[in-house]
Structure formats: C-alpha cells, structure tokens
Symmetry: C2
Subunit: 309 residues, 2 copies
C-alpha cells in the first residue's frame, strides 16, 4: 500500500510538496496574543479573534501557502473562541491555504483518537490539514490519529526537539535497554536503547512511515504524512539526530523571526532535510500590524525563497 495509490486520498506529504513548489515554505502563524489584539485595535473576545484570524487569512492568501493557528489563544475564550477558530480555518482552506492546527494534543486510546477526529476528520467543525501532537505517552500512544491522518490525507507533526532550553533534560534523556518493544510502532525490542527521547521519536515516526510508504529506502523523493517538530535553534547532534534521519518526513520549524533564528541558518540546522521544512514565523509578521501584515508576509516569503527555493 502506498499513500498515493490509485483511488486513495492524496497523502499529506505529497500535498505539502505541491504547496512548497507553488507557494514556498513560509507558514504564517495566526497567534492572537492579547497584546496583538490590542495593537490591531481589536477586542480580546471571540469577535476580536474572528476578525484577527480572518484578516491574517486574507493577507496570507496568494502570498504564502501555509497558515498555523495557535489553538491556545482561541481556547482562552472557550466556545466563542472555538467558533472564531472554526471560521478562520474554514476561510483559510477555502482560500487554498494549507492549515496546520498548532494544538499539541496528546493522550491515549479513545481519547487521543477523539483529538484526531476533532482536527483531522473531513467535515469536522475544526477540520484542518494537519495538527501538532505530543507523544509524551509514546509514539505508540498516537497510533489512532496516525491512522486517521493516513486515511484522510492529513498530516501530523510530533513534538521531537524543541527550541526552549528547559526542554533539554527530557528530550535528550537516553532510552534504556529492554524498552522500545514498540507497541503500535513496529520498532523491535531494544532498538531504541541508547537513543535520546527526541531521536527515538524520529526513529518511530520513520518506522511507521516506512510501513505505509511500502519502501525501506526513505529518501528525499518521498515525503510521508507524519513528521516532527524540530525547533529552529536546536543542534540536531545534541540529540543524536542526523539530517538523514529526517530526509523523508515533513518538519515543522517554529522559532524563526521573533525567537531568534534567521532563514540563513536553515540549511545549517536541518542539512539535507532543509527542503522538507515548514518555516513558521508568527510575531515577526503579525507585529507589522493590520495595515502592513500583507507586505510583511511578502517580504518574509521573498527572504525565505532566497534560501530554500
């Protein structure tokens, strides 16, 4: 079985390659911080969130290929915030933008399956094209949303190595021997031993992708539906990850602009996997304000294209 087989929904990886080719790698964050709502002259309310979201979508359409709403800022306003998020996502998809819901959900069993249904099921009120997800309970724990993603042509980005220093203890911790029996992951007993937590997540994502891609040669000619989040200020070597580990999976790279990384460093950070990176920028764009946000997107997309296209 291949993800792009006849009669099947086109896989997320293939769709993402199309977006990269047509519109580049820039992903515009939709992060309605309270301070940004104030700067934009909008109320800190469901109505303010709606207006903010729709304006960013309008500005991004035709100037970038991907948007990433940060769900936390919508959740602050409960059901009213979620109504604004639904409208924002719907408008973005109608405008041809790929939507990554930055939700960082995670759980087990039927609960994590429900999260997958919430964000990845065609026709669901919050239907996006992909979501971010946390595997603190193991990559095997997210098997249900992985399956949903594959069935529906959707994508998942599993948190692996993030940019913040306080994450390093956990993400660089070393997996012991006698574990990694790989429930739901296909990784044989002990195969993860000696790898860091972040690297073991990359390994398990690769194994899952290999099984679906029906190919043991993962190279840059294929891009799978399940990828990882790797921050733009990490050094892969600190986690025992090599860029060849990442060569056939989508990578979401937050931390550009405001958080300190610049586009020139993309090849240095991600190496041969740089062409798989969704390059996310939020405040560096949104700080431009409502009158200049479209121009800021165009400027950032051009800067990025010098490096990646």
């Amino acid at each position: 079985m291949t993800e792009s087989g006849a009669g099947m929904t086109e896989g997320f990886g293939k769709r993402l390659i199309g977006v990269f080719e047509a519109s580049g790698h820039l992903c515009v964050g939709i992060d309605p911080h309270p301070y940004l709502l104030a700067d934009w002259g909008l109320a800190d309310s469901g109505e303010g969130l709606r207006e903010f979201g729709l304006r960013v979508v309008d500005a991004a359409a035709g100037r970038a290929g991907i948007v990433k709403p940060q769900v936390a800022f919508f959740e602050r306003h409960g059901s009213a915030g979620y109504a604004a998020l639904e409208e924002t996502i719907r408008a973005a998809r109608a405008a041809g933008l790929l939507v990554i819901a930055d939700a960082k959900r995670g759980d087990l069993g039927s609960s994590v399956e429900a999260y997958g249904q919430a964000w990845l099921t065609p026709g669901a009120p919050l239907e996006a094209d992909a979501m971010t997800i946390s595997a603190y309970q193991g990559v095997g724990s997210i098997a249900a949303p992985v399956e949903l993603a594959r069935q529906g042509g959707k994508g998942l980005f599993v948190l692996a190595a993030t940019s913040n220093p306080e994450a390093f203890a956990t993400q660089s911790a070393v997996v012991g021997s006698g574990v990694g029996s790989g429930v739901g992951s296909g990784v044989g007993s002990g195969e993860l031993a000696g790898r860091t937590v972040a690297a073991s997540i990359v390994d398990e994502v690769n194994r899952g992708n290999e099984a679906v891609l029906d190919s043991t040669v993962l190279d840059s000619t294929v891009l799978a539906s399940v990828g990882v989040v790797i921050g733009a200020t990490v050094r892969l070597a600190d986690f025992g990850i090599t860029s060849s580990d990442l060569v056939s999976m989508p990578i979401l790279g937050p931390g550009f602009g405001h958080q300190g990384a610049d586009y020139e460093s993309i090849r240095a950070i991600y190496g041969s996997a740089a062409s798989n990176v969704v390059v996310s920028s939020s405040r560096a764009i949104l700080d431009a304000g409502p009158a200049d946000v479209a121009a800021a997107i165009t400027a950032q997309a051009r800067e990025l294209a010098k490096v990646l296209d």
Copy 2:
C-alpha cells in the same frame, strides 16, 4: 509566602484535602465516548454531549466529590462541544463538585500561559478547579500556568508516569549530566542527572512546591497545588520514584476499573502517598447507563472508602 497565608485564595491542595475528608477520593470521569452516547440514547452532537455531561453531574452531586471531564470528547464537536463542556463544568462547580479538566495541554511561553488562562482563570468560560498538563517541553516550560494556579487557588496535574506500555521508553529514559540547569524550575545544574524523565518531573514539581510552601520539609501534613499523574498500573520503582517523593503532592490516578487496576491495590502502588490520590474511574461507572449511574457512583465510592478512608 505560604499558599494558605492570610488574605490569599485558599490553595488547591488545601481545598483537595477538604474534599477528601467530606466526600472521599473518588473522581467520576465524564467521558462521552460515541459508544456511550449511543448506549445512553443520546445524539453524537453538542446537544448530546450537554445532556450526557449534565446527567453525570446530577448523579455525582452528593455522591462523590470530584469529576473529571475528558476534554477530547467535547473537542470532537468544536465550538458546540465546548459550549456543552462549559455548561457541564459550570453545573458541576455550582453543585459543589471539584472539576479537573483532563486536557493534557502543553506548550511554551505565551501559548502555554494562554492554556492556563483558558482553564484556570476565575471567570473564564472553561474555568475548572484544576487541569492536567504535559511537560514534554520541560517542567520549566509550564511555569506560567503553575503561577496562575497558585494565584487562583487552582491545581495542576503534570503527566509523569502513565499506565500504557508504549510510554515506558520515554518516561523511563535517563537524564544526562550537564542538563537540568532548571530554567524556571529552581533545580540546580546536573541535579536531575541519572534520574528518569518521570522522576525528574516529580523532582522539579517538588522543588517548585517547596519554594511556594516555604518549607523544605515536605510531609503528609501539607498538600501542594501542583501534583502529578501517575497511572494505577505502574510500578514506581521502575521509574526510580519512591512514595516519599510524592508525599506532599496531589496525585491523579487514572486507570481504575476499566483499565485493570482495582482499589485494593492503591496502597501497594502509591504507598505512603496513597492518601493524596484522586482515584479516577470512568467507564466502570458510565457503562451502568443513565438509569443506574448514580447507584454505580455510590457503590464505587463505598468500595473505595473501605480502602482509603
């Protein structure tokens, strides 16, 4: 500064002790699985979720002290699901029940702060008494919701050691030397080295609690506001955790009933920290159906009281 100082909001730990004394340790899960909605004769819709939530609250009021809505099942229905969740939480709190939102959120900086605001800020549409949270990005990454909890008399349960076997590789991985510089955590450089990921989370939670409790002697006479999730089928020793590590923090123990643990094993699992455990049971109660759910809660509360009260 102590959490229970004059003029301050009463700390969550103190409130929880009061609930344990008045109503016992049982926590009734509000998990509207699609199969349960069908069994209960309810639609798989916002209206069905609302009816399910309110019926469980009605049944729990006066028979248990704590309820735990599983947020994922409400999120499946987007803003309509969240409207049902808001109403369920409001009804539960009005009935004097302590509400733990099982959200397992996690992120960094202003995003995770927004999650804290969503669930823990007095007056927010989704205001609960406590929430579950994930620290894959480090305990330091959740500093903002920790602070919000302490200010508002709210609680946090940080995922530490969960019951599912596929979690073991990550949660038992060993922290290296030269990490644990403890941004936002107060843990000195290298102090986490050699600890498992789950144990390092327990340690960092203890350090944060000590600073706020103004006491370096954490014993069973104090209960802090920030605790952990430790599944009911784990062996603490497998993670290098001892029950004395847990003696002054709230513990959320899911996995009773349906997932295989029975109440008789509580003291064997949690040892001297057993009196801090919020004992969560969901499907073992909800499977009773709408006519018998109240009787099922009473029966479970009695069983549990034989062990813990």
